[in-house]
Amino acid sequence: MRIALFVTCLVDALYPQVGQATAALLERLGHQVLFPAGQTCCGQMHANTGYAREAVTLVRHHVDVFEDADVIVTPSGSCGGSVRHQHAVLARDAGDEALAARARAVAARTYELSELLVDVLGVEDVGAYYPRRVTYHPTCHSLRVLRVGDRPLRLLRQVAGMTLLELPDAATCCGFGGTFAVKNAATSTAMLADKMRHIVGSGAEVVTAGDASCLMHIGGGLSRLRAPTRTVHLAEILASTAAGPR
């Protein structure tokens, strides 16, 4: 299958290893990965901060770039959620019904990584090997916007060598929330503190999730505390093999 990678602006700029892992994983499974070079940002930060007008510019750009792709994958529940549930609404609210229709068509072909693997490619055991103690944080937008359910866990349970540890209060937000983390920094930090307490308490060496943004938040807190737990994106674990560990 020819799969277009929407890598997201955050991964592109700060976490290239997540995009590399996504591409490596899909290529290992026998698919061709394309990277439409014109891609930038889905506009979620603008939209969720109240800058709908600016967000529509980015929606139009995203649709222009991805319109010709057969299948689009993104290693982010949050950006995938924006494409699927926000783009057409933003376009319609701006009075651009034509753009809304095009955005709906792109949305219908856009999948978050675990959705693509389980629903489209029909695979749960991706042949990964990751000999570490891992706990999984289901990010809010994966869980409650895209409704990926237990797909990431089904993928993780098949990873050889890995010990999957339960995360108490897993479904509770880590406090990131985009610009919320800055605008309401004190509340955000209080939420993060509880999330970190559960992560460190789980005994995991690694906390994983399907969103680099939430992991940036959690990782930033763990790093500040000099906590031993590292953050690793789901794609990196699934891309890791005995021959090519990550």
Partner: protein, 507 residues
């Protein structure tokens, strides 16, 4: 004929009133939240109480296999009702009047207070007993009654705690959720005349003390004031659901009953009760059915109050109904499930929201009812702190999942954020944030500009983080991030650089 008003009927061309009353705070949310977060006792009280209610609700909801169907039914009934609210309200007025009640229309909190105060004074009573009611909290009725020389007595235990402490409610269902039992015991010892000086800080002992305190008042009260959870247009029936029985006392013992109800509480049909009497208790107290459900229709000779007044309160609801965003927020049945699952509310408590409607739905309702452009009630300047409320959410979506009538609160918050930003855009000078967002959108609309910006940021970030490998101090506004969290050090190359090196054959 085109319909000019969907809510309270009014002559064409007359603008719908905006909400006034206890709907605004005196500080922006982040400031008020910071104080609440610094209070460890408050955080313990809230974490414990919301945790208990969350677990109860989850269990009560899980035992129904048609819960999602009930939510869909609740949403559908509310949506259909709102689409012709005016006709249901006129029908309600006709049915209540036909059964011996009197209906009053209040455009805003001031009018509602004037109506209720006038009605109480005309009875000659100098005291009223009150059923817990968000509508009367919204309009600040207790202050209005007190100013008119009438003593309001709250008879719901938690409302009594709030009243005795000269406090404000911090939760829709559990207004004294910010207090623990030891604090309540101390308050009773201080404020409740004749209370046992050895009063134990146990729920039962505290409830019995309140019961003894209230009993005398119930027996002498001539006027009661209530809210309403539901009203049925086709029969003119009002409903109050409660747990303590104090409501039943207020609704049956006094000669005169005055009910203040937000206009959005009306339902068309008696059969609609089937849906809402299942959704409400399971969502609010986590019970299959609440202990007391009182239904009354007008007045009945020899049974209950001899005089019944219904005050229909607009206070911004008609204006909200005209707005696509506001309309869905009016579906709220005040169950408070969204508060109990909200990670922000759990940590800040309700007072941080300023308005008497806290939590996720409050962050939507308060700015909707008052309007984001509005000026604060009273004499305080021109700052509108309700504009900060839609940002008091990480948009985690737990509220939407818990809402019994499926109000998409995160989407409403995002729309209100846009309204707040657009209001700010109308000022003479754009804010620093607006300039940053506009610049970022311009950069991100072009892959060339985006790649150039990435290079600049990466170099800066790598220089700043080259010793430790992490960024622990960034300039404003990102200093709010690095105060408690490290920022990642930018990588040696971006993904798109890596891709162009490793996939040179692809364009």
């Amino acid at each position: 004929m085109s319909r000019v008003f969907l809510g309270v009927p009014a002559p064409p061309g007359v603008p719908a009133p905006t909400g006034v009353g206890q709907l605004r705070g005196t500080r922006p949310f982040p400031d008020a939240a910071r104080d609440a977060l610094a209070d460890p006792q408050l955080r313990r009280n809230l974490a414990h109480a919301t945790g208990v209610i969350r677990a109860k609700r989850a269990a009560a909801v899980a035992e129904l296999d048609d819960w999602e169907a009930l939510r869909l039914a609740g949403e559908a009934i509310k949506r259909a009702t709102m689409a012709s609210l005016d006709t249901h309200l006129v029908r309600l007025e006709a049915e209540v009047s036909a059964r011996g009640g009197t209906v009053h229309w209040a455009r805003d909190a001031r009018e509602a207070n004037a109506i209720v105060t006038g009605l109480v004074r005309s009875t000659g009573a100098d005291e009223v007993v009150k059923v817990k009611s968000m509508a009367t909290q919204e309009i600040g009725l207790n202050d209005a009654l007190t100013a008119a020389g009438v003593t309001p007595v709250e008879t719901d235990l938690a409302e009594l705690i709030v009243q005795l402490g000269d406090d404000r409610p911090s939760h829709i269902l559990v207004p004294a959720i910010h207090r623990n039992r030891a604090e309540i015991r101390d308050l009773f010892l201080r404020e409740m005349p004749g209370v046992d000086p050895d009063l134990a800080a146990e729920p039962r002992a505290l409830a019995m003390a309140a019961r003894a305190h209230l009993r005398r008042t119930f027996l002498r009260a001539r006027v009661a004031v209530s809210g309403a959870n539901l009203a049925i247009a086709e029969t003119g029936t009002l409903a109050v659901v409660e747990s303590e029985g104090n409501g039943r006392m207020c609704l049956t013992l006094p000669e005169t009953l005055i009910t203040v109800m937000g206009i959005e509480k009306v339902l068309p049909r008696w059969s609609d009760l089937e849906v809402f009497l299942q959704l409400l208790p399971r969502s609010s107290t986590g019970e299959r059915m609440n202990p007391y459900t009182s239904l009354w229709t007008g007045v009945t000779p020899g049974d209950g109050p001899r005089v019944f007044h219904l005050v229909l309160l607009d206070n911004g609801r008609t204006a909200a109904l005209a707005d696509r965003t506001g309309r869905d927020a009016l579906h709220c049945i005040r169950c408070s499930a969204c508060l109990n699952v909200c990670p922000v509310y759990e940590r800040t408590g309700g007072h941080a929201y300023g308005s008497i409607y806290p939590g996720p739905i409050g962050a939507v309702l308060a700015p909707q009812l008052t309007g984001i452009h509005g000026t604060p009630d009273g004499d305080g300047g021109s700052l509108d702190f309700n504009g900060s409320l839609p940002f008091a959410s990480s948009l985690c979506g737990a509220c939407f999942d818990a809402c019994p009538v499926r109000i998409d609160i995160p989407s409403l918050l995002v729309r209100l954020r846009a309204a707040a930003v657009d209001a700010a855009r109308e000022r003479a000078l754009p804010t620093a944030e607006a300039l940053t967002m506009a610049a970022a959108a311009q950069v991100m609309a072009s892959p060339t500009r985006f790649a150039a910006a990435e290079t600049a940021a990466r170099l800066g970030g790598r220089l700043a983080g080259r010793r430790s490998g992490r960024l622990s101090a960034l300039p404003w506004p990102l200093s709010a991030w690095t105060a408690t969290r490290d920022a990642p050090r930018p990588p040696a190359q971006t993904f798109r650089q890596w891709w162009s090196h490793t996939h040179p054959d692809q364009p």
